[in-house]
């Protein structure tokens, strides 16, 4: 039983990780075939796990309805009703039907786009909080941030070119250099995590702590 819970998952993870890495690095046809087959298996497993997530979500909303949780139970009824409606349309008319695609394109997609588009306003709110000259470093960030925002305005490029050039330089020279340094360091950290996973030293995805390994 311990082998099924501990060693077997580690063997699977390690071997699949090595397969994916070798497929990327080496131009061997059999590796390409194995890698693409593995990705098909992954899609199938994810589909099954989606069922588990759906059941869990429905259970939470069902409990809110039965307990009449204030402020939530009406929305839970709405959620379950819409869920059943979409399932009925999908099973009855097919997921390629006009009605199902209309629900996806004109309801779901638009709601998603609305949510994503509000991110701009949240960024502005965060910037208003962050750009405060509390000390020398934050004052410097405020000045640099102001020039970067100015260079994005076409009228500044026309009327006051030095501000545009300075903002452009801030954005494309020191900022890019710092970003790439952080990206490289984070990338090395991820490669180390991969190395530990392949060798079986990383056990977080098994839910095991270090003491359980000994």
């Amino acid at each position: 039983m311990a082998f099924l819970r501990r060693e077997l998952p580690l063997i699977i993870v390690g071997s699949m990780a090595v397969l994916q890495i070798f497929e990327y690095l080496f131009g061997v046809p059999i590796l390409k075939g194995l890698g693409s087959e593995m990705r098909v298996w992954q899609s199938i497993i994810v589909s099954y796990s989606l069922l588990m997530g759906t059941i869990g979500g429905l259970r939470v909303h069902y409990k809110q309805i039965t307990r009449r949780t204030p402020g939530k139970w009406l929305w839970s009824i709405y959620f379950i009703a819409f869920f059943l409606l979409v399932c009925a349309i999908g099973f009855g008319y097919g997921t390629s039907s006009t009605l199902y695609m209309w629900l996806y394109e004109w309801v779901t997609t638009n709601l998603w786009n609305t949510m994503v588009s509000t991110a701009g306003f949240y960024i502005l709110y965060g910037a208003l909080r962050a750009f405060r000259a509390r000390n020398s470093e934050s004052a410097l960030m405020l000045i640099v941030g102001a020039f970067i925002i100015l260079q994005m305005m076409p009228i500044v490029k026309v009327m006051f070119r030095p501000a545009y050039d300075l903002g452009y330089w801030f954005l494309n020279v020191p900022a890019v250099g710092a970003q790439r340094g952080l990206i490289i360091c984070a990338g090395v950290g991820m490669i180390m995590l991969t190395f530990r996973s392949i060798l079986g030293y990383e056990r977080a995805f098994l839910g095991l702590k270090v003491e359980e390994d000994t």
Binding site: L25, Q42, G53, G56, V116, V188, E202
Partner: protein, 258 residues
């Protein structure tokens, strides 16, 4: 036909160097040398946020974004360590924890195991209930997280995983409800969002280093040291490239992209 794919030779060399550094670090471990990682304030911030939430009678919400596919895998695996640590700290103070899993559902059983393990390690396995985990699929997970934060009004809010645009939205709402926030992600753009709104943030490799430190795994700690060693190789390559290209010699660049 070449064995190594076109343009991947330097990738292979870099991988060999980085893994070689890790192997050397593990060799040092076998010799009895356990490396340590510096104290990160954000790790103490996790405990501080949980204690503050329990003192004010508010809940603790742990938000995760990402899945176990492609580029989300490694940040998600690091997030699992944070989840286990948060659960352990919550168990010690008998807090009320809610964990949000977004995008895809394959993380659910793994996160469940980590939360249970953390609660057990904290001495309160009885705190676990299935309702502790909330799954929010694409594409509604952003607004569902917003709804979760606004209805539960947590005292402590954690953002870990591979956060994209929703990081700024969730952290801003967390700021509005008055939660103490700790954030960590590998994406640089999202790190800036968390830096603006969170009380503590893990920047860049701190995210993975903190996960290694919290796991308590000596192999993980030594592998971070191995990563630092491999960065000297990368810095050397960059310096050589800068000097050779500055003086008009492109041979080394051609070698790198071979």
């Amino acid at each position: 036909m070449s064995l190594i794919s076109s343009g991947k030779a330097f990738d292979l060399l870099t991988l060999v160097v980085i893994w070689g550094s890790a192997a050397y670090a593990l060799y040092l471990l076998k010799k009895g040398t356990v490396k340590t990682i510096k104290t990160m304030p954000a790790i103490g911030g996790i405990t501080e946020a949980i204690n503050r939430a329990v003192e004010t009678g508010r809940k603790i919400v742990f938000l995760h974004e990402g899945n176990l596919a492609s580029r989300d895998t490694l940040p998600t695996m690091a997030c699992l360590t944070f989840a286990s640590y948060v659960a352990e700290q919550v168990a010690k103070v008998s807090g009320d924890l809610i964990v949000s899993i977004t995008k895809t559902s394959e993380v659910i059983p793994i996160m469940t195991e980590n939360i249970k393990t953390g609660l057990t390690a904290g001495g309160a396995p009885e705190l676990w209930t299935p309702d502790m985990l909330r799954f929010f699929p694409k594409p509604a997970y952003t607004i569902e997280n917003v709804g979760l934060i606004e209805t539960e009004r947590p005292g402590a809010l954690f953002h870990f995983g591979r956060w994209a645009h929703s990081g700024i939205i969730n952290s801003t709402i967390g700021r509005v409800v008055g939660a103490m926030q700790v954030g960590g992600t590998n994406l640089l753009g999202s790190t800036s969002y968390f830096a603006a709104n969170c009380d503590y943030v893990f920047i860049g490799e701190e995210y993975f280093a903190a996960a290694a430190k919290l796991s308590g795994n000596p192999q993980a700690l030594n592998s971070i040291y191995g990563g630092d060693l491999s960065k000297t190789f990368l810095i050397a390559v960059l310096l050589i490239l800068i000097l050779t290209i500055s003086f008009g010699f492109m041979g080394f660049l051609d070698l790198v992209v071979m």
